[in-house]
Symmetry: C2
Subunit: 225 residues, 2 copies
Amino acid sequence: MKSPSQPRDRGIPEATVARLPLYLRALHGMAERGIATVSSEDLAVAAGVNSAKLRKDLSHLGSYGTRGVGYDVEYLVYQISRELGLTQDWAVAIVGVGNLGRALANYGGFVSRGFRVAALVDADPEVVGDTIAGLNVEHIDDLEAVIKRRGVSIVVLATPAAAAQEVCDRVVAVGVTSILNFAPVVLSVPESVDVRKVDLSIELQILAFHEQRKAGGPLMAVDSQ
Amino acid sequence: MKSPSQPRDRGIPEATVARLPLYLRALHGMAERGIATVSSEDLAVAAGVNSAKLRKDLSHLGSYGTRGVGYDVEYLVYQISRELGLTQDWAVAIVGVGNLGRALANYGGFVSRGFRVAALVDADPEVVGDTIAGLNVEHIDDLEAVIKRRGVSIVVLATPAAAAQEVCDRVVAVGVTSILNFAPVVLSVPESVDVRKVDLSIELQILAFHEQRKAGGPLMAVDSQ
DNA sequence: CCGACTTTGTGCATCGGTTCACAAAGGGAT
DNA sequence: ATCCCTTTGTGAACCGATGCACAAAGTCGG
Ligand SMILES: NC(=O)c1ccc[n+]([C@@H]2O[C@H](COP(=O)([O-])OP(=O)(O)OC[C@H]3O[C@@H](n4cnc5c(N)ncnc54)[C@H](O)[C@@H]3O)[C@@H](O)[C@H]2O)c1
Ligand SMILES: NC(=O)c1ccc[n+]([C@@H]2O[C@H](COP(=O)([O-])OP(=O)(O)OC[C@H]3O[C@@H](n4cnc5c(N)ncnc54)[C@H](O)[C@@H]3O)[C@@H](O)[C@H]2O)c1
């Protein structure tokens, strides 16, 4: 038995990283349905991408397929999970337990992929001390202590926009380097910190742009002027 | 007075469209603070992008700046808003009024940008009939009627994954061509329909990938092998 | 009215990502 | 053991996006 190909390149393209979770989701579904082996073509359809792209993406992790056959589902799940760092558990803290923070805290979909909501933090005395999704809401004054105590490495920011930068600065100061930001502000962080943002309002605006094009289309009269 | 430059090109790059809302947000902040004029450099910093990129983006809309001075804040707000189709009101329906749907319904940030939550729809008899954020939750059986009656043109999907494709098919069948999907599934739609997806789990997985790299870093021992 | 200064708008080189298309690899049938 | 069929892995062309760097345009002080 020859040695299986090593993870070939430590530099995986960002676009590929963003798609790996998609493949993983599709593969999990297949594993559940008892599918043992899958071709790049079938997996690509399930994940909603082009099959050449899928193969190139996977080739960045190593050579895990068998020509003429396809990919072993279980094995590929493992390889992608390992690459994404999902073989370990990640402790996540949610700061800002309002409408959105609550929804996130109650969401079961995170746990299933190796993420554990380990702490909820808020500034409002009305909210602090409440139990949400089995967790005690802690006070923002204890932010640093909570993060250290619970081993939090990823922080989700769901505070109002005005508070986001300050909270961000504080978590960065205690060593957090991964932040998921829901507040509609541009966070300023050191280069070493990763911030991903989710802005629903922006998504809607992009949809509106295209919707307008479709409606107004090739030759709609202008409204004014 | 010479005629102002026309919107130069009807084909605006997708990457540019995705950034226009960012500029708009920054500009609104400036307008509120009474700033009348802004340079590409300052606006770029506020929006978190490179100033050359900003100028190129804006140049796709037309030539709205003044050399040596910058851009008129109010005027630029108007031009970007018009380009994005925010001068009109968009009626949005939220289907699936659970944890997430409720958070979205209660969120004030949409209305402020020309989006109006015009309908809430759910399948659960416990939820149907409730009033959330001043809106009556309607039954999924009436989905088509509600969409037509309220003039909904954008649908937000916040149902469980299993129900998303079916709801999607139904709204597409009544003519909706813009969908914002929160369910972790790849929706299958005709080419003419725009689907944007928000998947928090994917965002966390991307963060985890980078976090692992930082931690494991240049030379961490492998766990197995 | 002029000249120095500021800032835009864009040509161009570059880069990362996508897609095509095919040689090489492997499995299974005979 | 050989051949045929399927499917991977990837070289290379292509495409859109980025960012540099600067000429053109316009302002403002004198
Ligand atoms: N709810 C949505 O659907 C939605 C959609 C898009 C964006 N957002 C953004 O997400 C963020 C949260 O939205 P929301 O609707 O949950 O708002 P919310 O007002 O319901 O909740 C905000 C919570 O943050 C807490 N908070 C305020 N200052 C804090 C601080 N300094 N430290 C810790 N906690 C603090 C408040 O006590 C409150 O519980 C906002 O920035 C909002 O713009 C929300
Ligand atoms: N809550 C989160 O933070 C979060 C995060 C990421 C993704 N998501 C995704 O968003 C979706 C909603 O999440 P949630 O936490 O609000 O779930 P939820 O179970 O709280 O809410 C789902 C709602 O959809 C309704 N529903 C079910 N079938 C329906 C149908 N056929 N038509 C109309 N309504 C129907 C249910 O009655 C329920 O009210 C899920 O797909 C979930 O995976 C949620």
